[in-house]
Point group: C2
């Protein structure tokens, strides 16, 4: 393609209203333009990237045996009433009334529609399992759309739905999708993790999210350096420390600590390492009486884990200052287990600590040398905290690293939520009707593009992974206006590369070199070839990968083979 026939809509200035780097770069590189809040047009360059993602997704879904179809965007309300979601979905569901005053919505997801199709078309267990997918425009009326296509209202999604006779078949189908997703994100050249996740509002049993790792990600995930274990940090299990509790070596000592309210204050005041301190947190128990939770000073309470404990009231409720004072005789900042008669639950790490520092249940007093069993009763023990970097992996293989991630895919075991509500039944092997079991599997196709940029960019612009690059090679003739040989060589090389099957963008604008370099770096073309008079006189072109720190001179006649090698290995092009 020639730039003269494929205009670039690049912009130098950083757009004022774009908060995250992918949004800024997608606007600056001319990939997208905003039409309304959370609603974007994909410009030609952006659409090329989007289509490349789409193609990889489609190939791997097909390879996994899923059947592509195309469901309507506009869905009748009746189906959503059947599933019960017309009420439950809330204002994110974009509701529409047609000219005959019938209710519809712009589909944010298609469980209802596919279940309706299934129950009409599939009659026998012999036709199972089956997996239908589509790549289609969705709309979710986000209350605060932001970050460009990362959290847009209208977006492109691959959604798949599988139907099974039983749980074993569902697990097989789920695994096939898990494997397909792994291939997809691997082929797209992204660093990602499959993360154990809460299944949220879509309901069902097991689910995993696929996260692209990027510092700007909205989710925090913990993953093992020694296995493929990964989980949302809130869900990752914190194991017991490997070492047993030491024997008490200090005497229980009451210390006056005027003005000391926080753990940081306490460490400074006592000149103690933070890992020797314990935080006391008071929540309401099932009987609304105070329950004392103990967490190591440098750890964080995990409210999801705490809420799941049978002793604790749902939803998790922190005790009021009055209730705390009534139960402990002191305010928050000076609390501890010594002398407290109510239930005490210690985090697993705290349960292995000795000679701890903590509050004395008297304002402005703390204790050091606290030991369970000796100074207060042995507490109940539970996993109460968020994992941190360096914790052992819950699968006991390697240690945990913490990273931020952007969710780009999700695999669910839905179970019978929709099939039961909507009566999706087949004739079972035993001749009896059997309600089918479902899985659903989504990839945010447009979000993948933004996530790839969050993960792969530098100060000059985007650095596309090879599989997503809108063009593989940028061909830049310098001073073509005055040099016949530059012009002719550029044209000849362009044709040779096209013939070799490469996706080439020839910058035939006769722009200044600086403009051409900046544009090609901004839009992230992996391989750059510069044709200039001086090198050409020596029979050479100048090659530079988007991530190379230096250029390489390559013989004119070797250039096709040189590039072919680079495209195969990916060397130079991507991070």
């Amino acid at each position: 393609m020639r730039v003269s026939r494929f205009p670039l809509f690049t912009v130098k200035e950083v757009p004022a209203d774009a908060e995250v780097i992918s949004h800024q770069l997608m606007l600056r590189a001319g990939l997208i333009r905003r039409l309304a809040a959370g609603i974007y047009t994909w410009l030609p360059l952006g659409l090329r990237v989007l289509r490349k993602v789409e193609a990889v997704v489609r190939e791997e879904m097909d390879r996994a045996g899923a059947l592509e179809l195309l469901m309507p965007a506009v869905q009748p309300a009746e189906l959503w009433h059947e599933s019960g979601r017309w009420q439950k979905y809330g204002p994110e569901l974009l509701r529409i009334v047609d000219r005959h005053q019938r209710d519809f919505c712009f589909g944010p997801t298609h469980e209802e529609v596919i279940t309706e199709l299934f129950r009409r078309e599939i009659k026998s267990y012999k036709q199972l399992p089956v997996n239908f997918y589509q790549i289609q425009t969705k709309f979710r009326d986000e209350v605060r759309p932001r970050y460009g296509v990362m959290r847009a209202r209208e977006f492109l999604m691959k959604d798949a739905y599988s139907f099974h006779l039983d749980q074993a078949s569902l697990q097989e189908g789920y695994q096939a999708m898990y494997d397909a997703y792994t291939r997809i994100f691997t082929r797209l050249g992204l660093k990602f993790r499959a993360v154990l996740a809460d299944s949220g509002s879509i309901g069902g049993n097991r689910s995993q999210e696929f996260h692209v790792l990027a510092d700007s990600g909205e989710d925090t995930i913990a993953f093992s350096t020694g296995s493929d274990y990964a989980a949302n940090v809130e869900l990752a299990e914190a194991l017991f420390p490997s070492s047993e509790r030491s024997l008490p070596s200090e005497a229980l000592t009451r210390v006056s600590t005027p003005g000391v309210k926080t753990i940081a204050d306490l460490c400074a005041f006592l000149n103690l390492p933070i890992a020797r301190t314990v935080k006391a947190i008071v929540v309401e128990g099932v009987d609304s009486q105070p329950v004392l939770l103990l967490i190591r000073g440098d750890h964080e309470l995990n409210t999801i884990k705490a809420e799941k404990l049978p002793q604790i009231k749902t939803p998790l409720t922190f005790a009021s200052p009055d209730a705390i004072r009534a139960a402990f005789g002191a305010g928050p900042g000076s609390l501890g287990p010594v002398g407290f008669g109510g239930p005490i639950i210690a985090d697993r790490t705290v349960a292995r600590m000795a000679d701890m520092a903590m509050g004395a249940n008297a304002d402005d007093w703390h204790l050091t040398g606290v030991n369970f069993g000796r100074d207060c009763p042995e507490p109940e023990v539970a996993d109460l905290r968020n994992v941190i970097e360096g914790d052992p992996s819950p699968d006991d293989r390697g240690t945990l690293a913490i990273a931020r991630g952007i969710e780009v895919g999700h695999v669910f075991q839905l179970g019978q939520k929709y099939s039961a509500a909507m009566n999706a039944v087949v004739l079972g092997e035993n001749g009896q009707p059997a309600t089918v079991t479902m899985g659903c599997y989504g990839i945010g196709v447009s979000r993948v593009v933004a996530a790839a940029i969050e993960q792969n960019h530098d100060k000059r612009g985007i650095i596309w992974p090879a599989a997503m690059a809108p063009f593989q090679v940028a061909l830049l003739p310098l001073g073509a206006a005055r040099s016949t040989s530059v012009r002719e060589t550029a044209e000849a090389v362009y044709q040779e590369l096209l013939t070799a099957g490469m996706d080439v963008l020839l910058d035939d604008r006769a722009a200044r070199p600086g403009v051409m370099f900046a544009d090609m770096e901004l839009i992230g073309i992996p391989h750059r070839l510069v044709i200039g008079d001086r090198n050409l006189a020596a029979g050479q072109l100048e090659y530079r990968g988007r991530c190379d720190s230096d250029s390489t001179l390559v013989g004119r006649t070797d250039i096709v083979e040189w590039l072919r090698q680079r495209l195969i290995t990916g060397q130079g092009g991507s991070i």
Copy 2:
């Protein structure tokens, strides 16, 4: 693809609510399923066809230099207010209110959005001309959606918009799109005509519609057998007859015609050929006084042509029975020019007639031997009628044939309707701002599929043109369950054909032969290969094209080359 992994959703019964053959066959062949009125899911087999159409459209649009982008489906009302269409478009525009009570619509077309994009991005005449297109889901809230995807509410459309500095450039761009459309429909293997059309409500100057010819078409078009002239029958010019008017040969005679009200009655009563009779039609003139229109007995008044005459009131209004009796002294059925003092306009054909039979302006009386100039004044003369089969072509090359057509594409010269309303201005060559001139170009991608079926089917099912067939070859092993050699040969041939790059559907269901034959004919696969024990013993397979009346035995080892030839020539596969 194997049928065991690509289920066919074929249906034997003709669906009760499907009126036209394409709708029936699309349901029966398992291409689509209805979700709601005018809203359809494309099943896997149908989607394959849709994607093949899409691919041809995309290739030819790209070849014509148009730039693909993707605009949002959901559009803000503000832009439609700017163009004035928020009010004008009427209830076909599906209006949406979002959670913040802002007005949007589900885009039925994208003139506003593309003009908004253009005015923000394109600043100079140097960037012109430019043509943007997309292939995208649209919604038009038809009051009575029908005929399946032929007149659906949600549908897939290719829409393109070109921007030009002047009319000459627009005409060039328009011609390029006309040529691209001609290539598209030719490649798709459709019999079609580019038809001069009224530009209707989208506004602008010149426009042509591309019609697929089919007896069931909603539009009637006239086209020349000797040139590429074609027009909606309402717009085709009826030329003067080639022969001059004969001299009067009969005396004016008043005939009592009791009960004769129609031209058919009159011909029967007088035993006259219909071409000797003249119909009198009375409409209101610009001054609301009666104007008498004269049309040959076997011709039809063309109200569009009549309404365009300066003497006639707009909109065309037929005179009331009272006004007619006041002006003519008789009621409809006995009217004529003899004795009428008001304006008379004769169709060009009538103007060349002599010795005519027509009403006598007295109830139950007619005249024969009427001649202009002798019995009544010479009338004004105009083209007032619809053309009929056999009329000379308006371009004087060949004669007209009449056919029915299905509109599948439309090319418009929009002019400045949107660019002026929305201030789409570039810096002109002279340094002054210049309002751009636009063209727009649509193809109903999903409708093309239905139109192709309307044109190409028989009583057994669909007959796909080669370029649209979901699979090229159907491979049917007979009795595979009990014959190892059939099974193994089928598998081997399947692999050979795939290796040769063919799109093959292997029916591995072990169904009865009749079921397999019926399914493959219903879904319209162009080439069928049957593998059976008896022929196989003689080293042969049985080939049959979808349109062949007989099968041919082909040597096992020749089969790939045989099919390759058939695929190249299209022989046997399509009509």
